[in-house]
Amino acid sequence: MRSSATGESQWGLTWRRFRRSRLATFALAYVGLMAIVAVLAPVLANRKPLLQRTASGWSFPAIADYWVSDPDIEVAPVPTTFTLPTPIPFSPNSVDLTERLQPPGGGHLLGTDDLGRDIVARMIHGARVSLAVGLFATLISLVIGSLFGAVAGYYGGAADWIVSRVIEIVLCFPFLFLVLGIVALFRPSIWTIMIALGLTSWTNEARYVRGELLRIREVEYAQAARASGARDARIIFRHLLPNALAPVLVSSSFGVAVAILTESALSFLGLGVPLPTASWGSMLSKAYEHIEYAWWLVLFPGLAIFSTVAAFNIVGERFREALDPRSE
């Protein structure tokens, strides 16, 4: 795709077209908001205060254990003269049996689960799991897909034939069967899920990269690079792949949606991120046990999954339309 006559870059043009859809712009903002929530989770929902003053001076307890893997270890309360709590003053795993199954409102904005854990706090921390899985799984599939696709598209012939057969084989396996098998056989963890998803969902990326490279491998700048003695790897990575990236990124946006959906499905089935780590999917499986009265356990985590997946899908679709020269 070339830049327009006005000298506007391809990305500028795409962005301008993208923004013409208010829904897609809103969806993109929502994705950004979710990312911020995920990154700031320990500071947004933590029973330790954001800022406090004790005899030894001022400190930031919630920020201090940002990188601590299990910040829920009991600590003896320190006498304080001033505390500024986090917006949601509960940790995702702080159990309080006196507060179990509280409906929304009151002390807990969206209620509590059967162990008295705050739903908002768990949802905020669940966003981390969802977005991390979505991002890294897609990154893995992007890398694998680009490599396979680039080799197939650039060399053609036997390489292309082999890659095409491999893609055909991977596509035969029902996605969830394969992911479920890998995750369960190699013990469930957030890393296993990311790798399993990445290893099984690279086929779309590979097909897009292959198609693009087939189209552009003989363009002038590739020929020029070849004539000046550049090696294949340099031509592929430096000249061709960057130009094949746009359609691949579209499919990655859908990929993130699928990854988030699959992670929550795995967690719902009890084969996802191990408990007690909060995940939207495992929160929903809890909801099934108390479905007679605890409607808030069903509604809110499900809404979180749905809205995030929908946002990524809408962004991907609009991005695709904005890249399509026929849409102008």
Binding site: L171, F177, N313
Partner: protein, 329 residues
């Protein structure tokens, strides 16, 4: 045409071999062989090494990997997948027992989704650019983004718990055997409603989206412009020229939706305790029932392979450009 068919069949055979190699490699890259894992999980210890060696020999686990693979493929071709570790019955018997249940559920969902989704998609493509079309496009996306287990929970919450009009789970009621024929049929239908609804809505969105883009693609082509130019009315152009050509790409959906449906079955069958192969696979995964896991992985992949083979052949019959070699690239 014959050349095309022969080539396609050879590729299918190759893909089948690839499927078996991939499954076999996956299972055997799990740390520890199945026997060790099962013994470890059962908490058994102090088993005599001779006993272990005998069990390994019985399952051919003492042979080198290529030999194990050949043995397994040879049995798999004749549908002999060994014995389930959990149920202690032949895996083949178990699969044949559950397959009809999954088939029943998926066939109803498929027909429902296709018969509703395709007309909706074609209708919305024919209204290209209008508000209803754009609204329906967003609608498909939202529908497609709904997690099926959430939808199932909401359906259960209302229909089964709050209003108590449909059963919570299962395929039949406890009193099924005592019912008359009419009562049995009604009972079965009642149990089908929620799982079918859960399986249908997302597919409906896929069908609608696919048929919409297929028709949009056709409308852009020259022969449609030609038909318009010769003075045919909008309705005539759509009916006589566009729809028929838009339906051809729909054939590929046949191959694409089968793996999607099977994936969905795992979730839906687990939630509604529907006694099909999705639930079987889920339970096999939990129990690490290796023969069942391997058998189901291969069987579902082969079903997908056959569906896409069928789709390709049908496509070749419907579209002469394919069978005559044009666009083979």
């Amino acid at each position: 045409m014959t050349t095309y068919l022969v080539r396609r069949l050879l590729y299918a055979l190759l893909t089948f071999l690839g499927i078996t190699v991939a499954t076999f490699t996956l299972i055997h890259s799990v740390p520890g062989d199945p026997i060790t894992v099962i013994i470890g999980r059962a908490g058994l210890s102090g088993i005599a090494p001779e006993t272990l060696a005998r069990i390994r020999a019985e399952f051919h686990l003492d042979k080198p990997l290529p030999e194990q693979y050949l043995h397994w493929v040879r049995s798999a071709v004749t549908f002999d997948f060994g014995t389930s570790i959990v149920e202690r019955r032949p895996v083949r018997t178990i699969i044949f027992e559950k397959l009809p249940n999954t088939f029943q559920l998926n066939l109803i969902a498929f027909l429902l989704a296709a018969s509703l989704g395709v007309p909706i998609g074609l209708w919305s493509a024919s209204r290209s650019g209008r508000l209803t079309e754009r609204a329906s496009a967003v609608g498909f996306f939202l529908l497609y983004s709904l997690p099926s287990f959430w939808v199932a929970l909401i359906l259960i919450q209302y229909f089964s718990v709050r209003w108590n009009v449909l059963p919570l789970f299962g395929m039949t009621s406890d009193a099924y055997v005592d019912m008359g024929t009419g009562g049995q049929l009604a009972d079965r239908v009642k149990h089908l409603v929620l799982p079918v609804l859960t399986l249908t809505y997302a597919q409906l969105a896929i069908f609608a989206r696919f048929s919409k883009s297929a028709l949009t693609e056709v409308i852009r082509q020259d022969f449609i412009t030609a038909a318009r130019a010769k003075g045919a009315g909008t309705v005539a152009v759509l009916w006589n020229h566009a729809f028929r050509n838009a339906l051809i790409p729909m054939i590929t959906l046949l191959g694409l939706t089968i793996p999607y449906l099977l994936s969905g079955s795992v979730i839906v069958e687990q939630i509604f305790q529907w006694d099909g192969i999705g639930l079987l696979y889920y339970n096999a995964i939990l129990a690490r029932d290796y023969p069942v896991i391997m058998a189901l992985t291969v069987v579902t992949a082969v079903v997908t392979l056959l569906a896409s083979l069928l789709a390709d052949i049908l496509y070749a019959f419907a579209d002469p450009r394919v069978r005559l070699g044009e666009g083979a690239q």
